[in-house]
Amino acid sequence: MTTTRSGERLVPPKAGTDAGALRLDRLTKTFASKSGAVTAVDDVTLDVRPGEFITLLGPSGCGKTTTLRIVAGFETATSGHILLDGTSIDRTPPQRRTMAMVFQSYALFPHLSVGENIAYGLKLRRHDHDDVRTAMQIALTSMNLVGLENRFPHELSGGQQQRVALARALIMQPTVLLFDEPLSNLDAKLRGAMRAEIRRIQRRLGITSLYVTHDQDEAMSMSDRIVVMNKGRVEQVATPAEIYFRPATIFVADFIGRANFVEVVPEQVTDGAALVNALGERLRVAAHPAVRANSPAYLMIRPETISLQPAGDAGIGAVLRSTFHGHSVDYEVETISGTLHVTEAGPDPDALIDVGTNVAITLRPDRSYVLNGSWTGPDRTAPTD
């Protein structure tokens, strides 16, 4: 619904398309507050390769937006450096950074038409009038906004406003694109379409992108790599699959998707795998490098990797609660190792398990993971913003 005509380029790629290597070097930002100093960004180091799409993901207050704003130049880091293609831009004012930002509120100028909004940056640079027009036409075409150039922002739908904001950023031919939760004001359906569109354009133009969101689904589906942040610190930098299946910390495992944690003491750790006893079974499960034999750890089991079979007296768990969602059923199963959350996707209408049934539990060791750390229980902070 929001696809653009394929084939045309939004802006010609710059000579030497491997520009856009961004490095955050031990970035720290402290704010003074009434109750002393608050560290919003704590020693963040990150290397973004040219053309890479990196997402900063975390709960509200984790420092992701502050990090983005430091990169844009709207905030000044207390310590640390930002390097763009090897050159420090710490002292470059935001006006002179070759980065374009898409704001959460879009920040479209309400007194300017769509065309004027898009051409704003180029006009400031006193580009030739015809060049501006041409660039604007290309931008309008590729963002599917043709015919809307004389409308005003408030006459557009949310999705159209979003595309104007993107066109306005892209026309500047930035080396780095910055996104501050750009889709949080759209409805779910439009959000999905815009995700795909942003990613498609970013891939085609090969612009290094730094994307901030608290929506894990958005981060998973768009990013080359995800930076999971918590309380100002980086918890893990990895591809979406790695983040999901091989979380570095309990926080990451808990924040991304849903997870069960079973306390284990690995008997031995060899070749990146640990031998653990859980739920009456001896399992060999991939383990985080920090996991040591004979010291307490957690076995992380995703709810959708567990399967249940009614087992009468032979069962090792009992179904406490069952919640039917249509496309899946959630079970809570009482076991000797605590309550397990189990999700069965595409449930069999004739095989729904009643509350109170004793069940046998089958785990998938190849889709589980052993990791260190402390887990404070299921009462996690909600990832809301």
């Binding site: 704003r69 844009a72 130049g73 709207f74 905030e75 004012p93 935001p94 006006q95 002179r96 950074r97 980065m99 374009a100 930002m101 704001f103 959460q104 509120s105 879009y106 920040a107 479209l108 100028f109 309400p110 007194h111 300017l112 704003y120 940056g121 400031l124 640079r125 922002p153 408030h154 949310g158 406003q161 306005r168 500047m172 501050d180 949080s184 004001n185």
Partner: protein, 583 residues
Amino acid sequence: MTMLVPPPPAPVETAPSNRPRRRSRDVGVTVALVASVLLVAVGSVVPLTAMLSTALSGSALPRYAQFVTSSTDLAILRNTLVLGLLVGACGTAIGFLFAFVQTRLAVPGKRILHVVALLPIVSPPFAVATAAIVLYGRQGAVTHGLLGVEYDIYGLDGLVLVLSLSLFPVAYLGMLGMMRGLDPAMEEAAMNMGASRWQIFRTVQLPLLAPGLAAPFLLLFVEGIADLANPLALGGDYTVLASRAYLAVTGEYDTTSAAVYSLILLVPSVALFLAQRYWLGRKIRTTITGKPSGTVHLITGWARWPILALAVFVSLIVVSLYGTVLLGSLTRVFGVDNTLTLQHFREVVLGAGREALRDTTLLAAVATPVAGLFGLLIAWLVTRRLRRAAGWLDFAGTLGVAVPGTVLGIGYLLAYRPDRYVGDLLVLPGLVGGTAIAGGSLAIVLAYITRSVPAGLRTGGAALTQLDPGLEEASMNLGAGSVRTFRRVVVPLIRPALLTGLSYSFARSMTSISTVILLVTPNTKIITSQILSAANTGRYGVAFAYCTVLTAVVLAGFGLIRLLIGGAVVLHRTAAPTGRTPR
């Protein structure tokens, strides 16, 4: 958690209510409605009708022909409009300057500037004008004494100076809210695309604020042409419609002429007032969607210093004027004989001013709660209970400020001076004049109320639109009647608005001049008219002492109201209101 007060400056999206409002009208609402309509009718509609019927009567009609052919009269009309134009422009410019310094410059001392900008709000009439004469007049301490120039402050320049400085706080506060309401992301977006400070100001901030400048300009224009006190004290030969109409009544005893001048003054006043309401009512889209984000980037370059210097210069003039009021009340003849003395205060507090002080305070104290209550009540009726009639009641309630005070005063004279008979039966004895009942104090209280209701109506209306109608519906759903709901749910929730409304009413009543100056009788003296006579007879020390005492009474009143209503209350919303606002 969102703070309920103060209401966010950003315009509220009004979504049409998707289910019909409850239209049950119980006895309480009917009583409230009848009382409000009665008050508005007696307070402004009847006097205005009396004024209009005199101004449009057969004997008045030849006066219009005289008016358009008389160069004197046409000059008065031109004077009035020129004054309004200049006051609107200068006051708005000063307000903009102060708001800009406050919200956009990284400079020290902003809090002091804020206080200075609010000083004129509780200023008694004549205080600034009299101080300006003493400081900057022909024998002025600054102009003559320090600079040694012969400067005639009487006339247009003096009026513009004094009125701009007295009225700019209104523009300042309005623009402060607007500038704070601008989404900082807008500036950041411009910055991100390479715009310099000056380019951001020129291409983003100014165009976004420009529509918002119209409202304070129009408001100051209306206030400027309606003002009577300053033209009387400082006008010299520069006559305006308000002072001309006043002279027609008090000097020539020609109420017909007065009504004619009033009508000519009324037309631009009400028209511009309505234009201002329209501008404010329009939805100015400062943000499109989403919550404002980002932070304001204050100006840190050299450019901030000349801007600050300008604001400091204006502040110094303001401070010098109010300092003169205070010092002038404590010295024998300020600038000439600077011996400290309490004789002026003695005259005001113990001598001739005692009665005026007592009467004014008493009448204002009676008028304030009535005005506050009715302001709120009308606001509630307008926003919640009425549909088609809402606009009319709102308009009628606002007449008290839309109509120039002098015009309203002349209306009172025409409507309420004669005794009214039906046959031989005395229905309504005269309310105005020497023989009026209660020494004319009834009419004065009525004038105070009428002039103060609009303030309560505005603040109350603003607070009510921020309040989720669901709260009231919940109360009624639980079985409370309309009146009970109003008293137990609405009033406590908009207490801050009530506080503002009452404070404003009291200050306005105490310092009111243009209407009541026509209503004072030998039996009922009013401070403001005492100030005028003191200033006109050159007893500046006494005038200053009156001003100082008056300000003290107003501030004490603020304290008392705060004590009675309860100070700053912070109310937290438990949940976001449902996406609809009434009306």
